[in-house]
């Protein structure tokens, strides 16, 4: 399991570890602790996994779901925050990269109390195959 990219970037947390996208139409991460969220320096990178990642949906999308320490109801959900073009992504090729937005949270009730996030990728199961990785990176 890599904890450093080829360019030297340190991986903070593994979001998805070589997960197969051949089943289901979405994958949701575990709760990820993000005490550094409000620094604005947390970045998510999706990459092709051990087998070619084929995304059939154009576009696939990524949701970001914010939670407080209690892990109760979501404080905020940013649906379809980014899009990912359909296509074939070989091992290590970047599907998408984005910073976890946080400034919008100041306009949301309890938006200053986010402690966890979940990352969810949505796609069409039919025609999708292969594996992908996703990492949380501190920049």
């Amino acid at each position: 399991m890599p904890n450093i990219f080829n360019d030297g970037t340190q991986v903070d947390q593994i979001i998805f570890d070589d997960i197969s996208i051949a089943s289901a139409s979405s994958k949701t991460s575990d709760f990820m602790v993000v005490p550094a969220l409000y620094t604005g320096r947390l970045e998510v990178v999706f990459m092709g996994g051990s087998t070619d990642c084929v995304l059939a949906t154009n576009p696939a999308t990524v949701d970001i779901i914010y939670y407080g320490k209690s892990k109760g109801s979501a404080i905020h959900t940013w649906s379809s925050y980014v899009s990912i073009s359909a296509g074939t992504y070989k091992k290590g090729k970047i599907l998408t990269e984005f910073h976890i937005p946080y400034r919008k949270l100041k306009e949301v009730a309890n938006g200053d109390k986010v402690f966890y996030v979940k990352i969810k990728i949505n796609y069409t199961e039919s025609g999708s195959s292969g594996n992908l990785n996703a990492y949380l990176v501190w920049k």
Partner: protein
Amino acid sequence: MDNILRDGTQIDQTVFKDLDLNETASPAVSDYIVVPALYTGNLHIEIVAKKECEIHGEEITPPAEAGHTVIMNWSIYTEEDLMLDIPVELTYSKIIAQYPDGEEEITQYEDGALVTPQAIPTEKNIIKLTFYQGDEIVAIFNLDEGKGNVIKSEDENYIIRIVDEEETPVYDIWQWDAKIQLAYEDTIELFPYIDIEYFDREKNSVFKLEKYVNIPIGVYSAGTIMSEFSLPFKFLKNIENGNKCYYVKISLNYVNDTSSGKLNAYLIWR
């Protein structure tokens, strides 16, 4: 011209200034923005409503059978909890879920009382749900072969509605925030979105990243953030001349006829 946001954030450059959503044809494209600091990863864009904004995206008609679809063979697999809206007339004391590799009781109680609605925590395919009252089976729902299943969206929740041969609803399974591609409505409104085009010093296009971020449809009061995102750069290493980007252009794609208000967009160094 604003050069500082209310929280003290310094603005590096203005991307859009007083962009009138109704009067500006889509896409609204910025001028060339000089981004020598692109490869630091510290450049961010923030789009803020200048006056109250209402923004909308393109409406499309879903393919195939708009309105509803019928799936004859299907199964459920999700990493989210499914919520089972159980018919009120069904009295039961226990629910057994059958998975491909076995079965498990999933009934949820709180202080000895049944929780309503029942959540089905699963990361497996559900084949069958069997409802018991004591030791007696009172209902069986086969989830791997529907008799005719309508997928419907209501109040932003997505519902898998199980119907009988007469299309009479039998029961619903629904999931918050699920993305089911086939919607009940005749049309679907797509999100407004942002493209980023990268250019070299000679202003030759290097790459256009289409539909990078989406902007939630809706009304934004003055001063509220409509979108915030960083300028991605890591992926450029796999693009020819991806290491030579010097300018970017930001394109805002939306439908101007149904949108209104004014917005600003800023480039921020952080």
